[in-house]
Symmetry: C2
Subunit: 249 residues, 2 copies
Amino acid sequence: MTLWAVEGLPEIQPGDDLAALIGDAVGDLQDGDILAITSKIVSKAEGRIVQAADREAAITAETVRVVATRGTTRIVENAWGQIMAAAGVDASNTADGTVLLLPENPDRSAYDLCLALRERFGIRLGVVITDTFGRPWREGQTDVALGAAGMRVLDDLRGTRDAAGHELHVTQPAVGDEIAAAADLVKGKANGTPVAVVRGLGHYVTDEIDSGGAQPLVRKADADMFRVGSTEAWDEGYRAGLQAADQGD
Amino acid sequence: MTLWAVEGLPEIQPGDDLAALIGDAVGDLQDGDILAITSKIVSKAEGRIVQAADREAAITAETVRVVATRGTTRIVENAWGQIMAAAGVDASNTADGTVLLLPENPDRSAYDLCLALRERFGIRLGVVITDTFGRPWREGQTDVALGAAGMRVLDDLRGTRDAAGHELHVTQPAVGDEIAAAADLVKGKANGTPVAVVRGLGHYVTDEIDSGGAQPLVRKADADMFRVGSTEAWDEGYRAGLQAADQGD
């Protein structure tokens, strides 16, 4: 597996044809290559820019459900079920006085980019749109797959056998997130190279462009043991306990 | 950045000199290379094998704190503050009737391997011991850094500036976890190649072997908004609410 950052991409502006600009900068591609594209430039091309004065309102507007709050930090769920800090509303790498929202529909953005790039190069390519998420329990952030097209994001090994002959019961490597994380190591945050090529994982690239997107990586509510912050859950239980006692037992 | 799996490593047995076996199989290394080593073979070499009949007892023994339970799934914190399912006690890729514990001290294991491999090859190498963790909110698993030596696992960008000149306030890429995730893409789970070489990230390799290990990736309790499962926190709050009402208000 080989990964490298794409050099020479111009500063992206609202209305830019991002697929064309990436296609111009990316050089030779091979069948099965995956392009990891930072969501920020997708948002910029889509004009997802609002005034910084509205940052808190923008976070609220992007929020479907508040997961946890502490101080000024808000962990929220957005329309696509993705859970992250501040709904991904970002003030870095934007013009002064503005903030950037996430792409309106990251899987659709990935689809459009994948379609345009496959048509241009005439080969099967995968696209993953990446964003930087914090995690419970662990310090630092890793890049994850916010949107995807033309590739699988979960590698379902359930039912296959390990080297000792045992069935791998629960193993579903989140390859979309692992590819996003790997690409972050070569893109970097500060050096203005928001696109990377990942070569050597063609077995995850699909014939179809519509491969289910990144949604298989989003856990459904009923399977999630950490739907709300510990403090929020405790407070809710406490109120329920008071109320239950109040109604007489 | 280039990554590849190391071929030709024999099945590891308790008491094996793992550094020597890896050194024999790995071929030419360059200064700044990082070796990603699956914890399973470290555990095997260290003889961390117990009878499968004791699996539940083994999980309990490895547990410092229960984070959340649902059905037979136990999410727990171990002695190193790492939070994972079943304390990492694993029945895959082991002989029938046995299960494998995690290495007793993953950072020490990484240190010993890094020291032996640096001495053998006479160059600066990094070592990351990887394990496969689930995550809240997201389906599938990613590999993370359980132990590390000779390398930094957090890339602290706080105070540096992005391409637009803004300070990157909170950005600390969890490069140890991202390297583990990237390596998983070439090691695979089912094909018996538990070691990968990661080339091109020499800027994270340190002169010192004792670089703080993987502990900087472990979030401290007071900074964590998801210390216990939502149900557990709710139940605890409910009991507190009942009790408060009981004591009269």
